[in-house]
């Protein structure tokens, strides 16, 4: 039986104690890069916490936290180049931030307004958060196909959870990426749970990475809580993609330290011990220790960074809160390129209704 060989080998550079493992790649000598990782992960961890608290006080909709998965998004955001297209799932706050999606925009999205998907900057070509699980993988294959058809040296990178890998929408495009040798990188955030369904009830495969074998593409596991390992792997896969050498599946092994969303209560289905054990492997502290030991970090820098991040976050929250409610017109005017007459008529009715509702007279009596 001929299975695909993977030339990519090392799956961890920093162990759970913050110690270096094996031969470190030369790029890890670049302290700028390491500090950028750390700054992003810290900011996103604080931001994430802030959004959860906004939700608890009724200022936010159902929110999917990325607690514990910051390394994956951070690595992706740093490895992507502007010409690439990022196709996220809903725990990619870190990557989106690095792509230029602003904090107020993220809040706007989770706050129930489609304008939160109207990214600008490098993210202007990226896909919005995808709610129907795994469907974004197929879109990413289409995007990669467009690059291939046009002979462009660009890659599409798509993320999903391990639950998503049970869907046809994960398998079909991965298979296509194998046949068409697409410039596609699939990063699976294997956080061990799909809401309440544990990893072992999701698939009988010993790893998610081996699903690549079904498509004849390269697949491997990395420690998803080691930002350097994820970065190195994603970098490798992106370069391979841009060079026209085909698709890669990267399984980033991590743990969802939070509830599934703010609407979930994970204590219903998983043990406290499991979560405590997972906290010992979490990505932020690990990188901090590593930086400390390298003399790149200290308590004072930490305090300063936290203060900076808090300020940025509070400014973001303020800006979000100052955003106007989207005009009623927008519900109608972005459905088609040219709004057809029947929608123009409905738009008028909707505006009248909005005025009535704004008048507090919801029931017309």
């Amino acid at each position: 039986m001929l299975y695909t060989k993977t030339p990519y080998a090392q799956h961890q550079f920093i162990d759970t104690e913050g110690k270096a493992v094996g031969n470190l790649p030369s790029w890890m000598e670049n302290s700028e890069q390491l500090l950028r990782f750390y700054r992003t992960m810290t900011l996103i961890r604080l931001f994430d916490k802030r959004v959860v608290s906004l939700q608890r006080t009724g200022q936010m909709g159902t929110y999917a936290s990325c607690l514990g998965q910051e390394a994956i998004g951070t690595a992706i955001g740093c490895a992507l180049q502007p010409q690439d297209v990022f196709v996220p799932y809903y725990r990619d706050q870190a990557a989106q931030y690095l792509r230029g999606v602003t904090l107020p925009q993220m809040l706007q999205y989770w706050g129930g307004d489609e304008w939160g998907n109207h990214f600008t900057g490098t993210a202007a070509g990226d896909f919005p958060n995808c709610v129907p699980i795994a469907t974004q993988v197929t879109h990413a294959a289409g995007i990669a196909s467009a690059f291939k058809i046009r002979g462009e040296k660009r890659a599409a990178l798509v993320t999903c959870g391990e639950g998503a890998t049970s869907r046809g929408d994960f398998y079909e495009p991965m298979n296509l990426a194998g046949v068409w040798q697409l410039p596609l990188v699939l990063v699976v955030n294997n956080n061990q749970w799909a809401i309440s369904v544990p990893r072992h009830l999701q698939t009988g495969a010993a790893t998610i990475a081996q699903k690549a074998v079904a498509a004849g593409i390269e697949g491997f596991q990395v420690d998803g809580n080691d930002v350097c390992a994820v970065y190195d792997a994603v970098q490798y896969a992106l370069e391979k993609a841009r060079a026209g050498k085909g698709a890669t599946l990267v399984e980033a092994v991590t743990y969802r330290l939070c509830d599934h969303t703010t609407a979930d209560d994970a204590t219903r289905y998983r043990d406290h011990e499991e979560v405590s054990a997972a906290w010992l492997k979490e990505p932020v502290k690990r990188l901090q220790t590593f930086l400390h030991e390298r003399g790149l970090w200290n308590e004072q820098k930490e305090q300063q960074l936290v203060a900076e991040c808090q300020a940025e976050i509070e400014q973001g929250v303020k800006d979000f809160q100052a955003l106007p409610l989207q005009p009623v017109d927008d519900l109608f005017d972005y459905l088609f390129d040219t709004t057809p007459p029947h929608l123009i008529a409905q738009r008028e009715r909707a505006k009248q209704k909005a005025a009535r509702l704004a008048g507090g007279n919801r029931h017309g009596h």
């Binding site: 307004d113 369904v197 109608f332």
Partner: protein, 348 residues
């Protein structure tokens, strides 16, 4: 294929005889839970499957406690795949099981459409009765719960268009209990749509006696003589409120909950409209090719001689339901229903 004692391996199964049926004061979602437990208790062929239906008891808790009570052979957490859930249910149903599958939100039912349309709806027909498909696909639907994108769909019309499946929508705890029991007992496939906005809105007293309510039947919730208000699902709530508003204006509105969207009990609807001469249809879905279109077309056709005004329709707009900050603009409200009724009454 006999289904007696087939789960005898399952140590968790309860087969003890029971006393007087208990009475519970429950919400709609609790009524669903009661009906599921009752059906599983009465018939070992009934199994439950879906995402998070086991230990978690479903994201809305509709299947809460079932795994503990009936064991993991009869309450199965599936991998995350909706086509799978529907197609596996077809296979199970063909073997004499009665799968009750949950699709977590109606916005995720689309991947299952092929198995519903091409297989569940046709298995009996294609094999001329050799195999059949007694499955229920339950899914919460509709807006108004402040939910993420794609969690507020009302695409019941897609299913009501397809020959060979029943589409059933409860709008109260009592009807949820009774209709779900009948849907599970029914030898043919049923799409069972549960209005998530009503899941915890009101409580009703239910006698857990295992008695189902008839499918293919409308429920007249309020008698009236001036105008007929027709609705289903969550809109029944605003429609009843509208009827009370109208009463203050001395207008007597009859309110009918369609409940079964295919086949539709036109006898009840037509008898009412023949009496009132005016008709308002309320739905959350957009208008084109909807259940409202269907009912309006039949009312107009059969009612030409007794309709005193055009059929009025209150719908969502022809747009996706907006993300939650703006969804109240989209959802039909009491004011709109009252206005439509008044228009119908003022028409000359």
């Amino acid at each position: 294929m006999g289904t007696n004692g087939i789960f005898s391996n399952n140590s968790l199964q309860q087969t003890t005889g029971e006393q007087e049926p208990a009475t519970h004061v429950v919400t709609l979602v609790e009524a669903v839970n009661l009906a599921l437990a009752r059906a599983m208790q009465n018939d070992p062929a009934v199994v439950v499957l879906g995402e998070d239906v086991g230990t978690n008891g479903g994201v809305f808790r509709a299947t809460s406690g079932l795994k503990e009570r009936f064991g993991c052979r009869r309450v199965m957490d599936t991998p995350l795949a909706e086509a799978l859930i529907a197609g596996v249910s077809v296979g199970m149903a063909s073997q004499g099981l009665k799968p009750v599958a949950e699709i977590q939100f109606m916005g995720f039912i689309y991947a299952a459409v092929e198995h519903i349309v091409s297989h569940a709806a046709r298995l009996r027909h294609r094999t001329r009765g050799r195999l059949h498909c007694p499955m229920v696909l339950r899914t919460p639907f509709g807006g108004g719960i402040h939910a993420p994108e794609h969690h507020c769909e009302s695409t019941e019309a897609i299913f009501a268009h397809i020959p060979g499946i029943r589409v059933v929508v409860p709008s109260s705890p009592t009807r949820a209990y009774g209709l779900l029991l009948s849907a599970i007992e029914d030898p043919d496939p049923v799409i069972f749509l549960e209005p998530s906005r009503l899941y915890r809105m009101v409580k009703q007293e239910i006698r857990d006696d295992g008695v189902g309510l008839p499918l293919d039947t409308c429920f007249t919730l309020r008698p009236g003589k001036d105008v007929t208000l027709i609705a289903w699902g969550a809109c029944v709530h605003e429609t009843l409120q509208a009827a009370r508003e109208l009463e203050k204006r001395n207008i007597s509105a009859e309110v009918i909950d369609v409940a079964s969207l295919n086949p539709i009990d036109y006898d009840t609807l037509l008898a009412s409209v023949e009496k009132t001469g005016r008709c308002v249809i309320v739905q959350e879905a957009p208008r084109p090719c909807s259940v409202g279109s269907e009912i309006a077309s039949v009312m107009a056709e059969k009612g030409l001689l007794f309709l005193k005004a055009p059929v009025e329709r209150v719908n969502g707009f022809d747009t996706p339901i907006p993300y939650f900050r703006r969804e109240n603009i989209y959802l039909p409200d009491v004011h709109e229903i009252v206005s439509a009724a008044v228009r119908a009454l003022e028409f000359t």
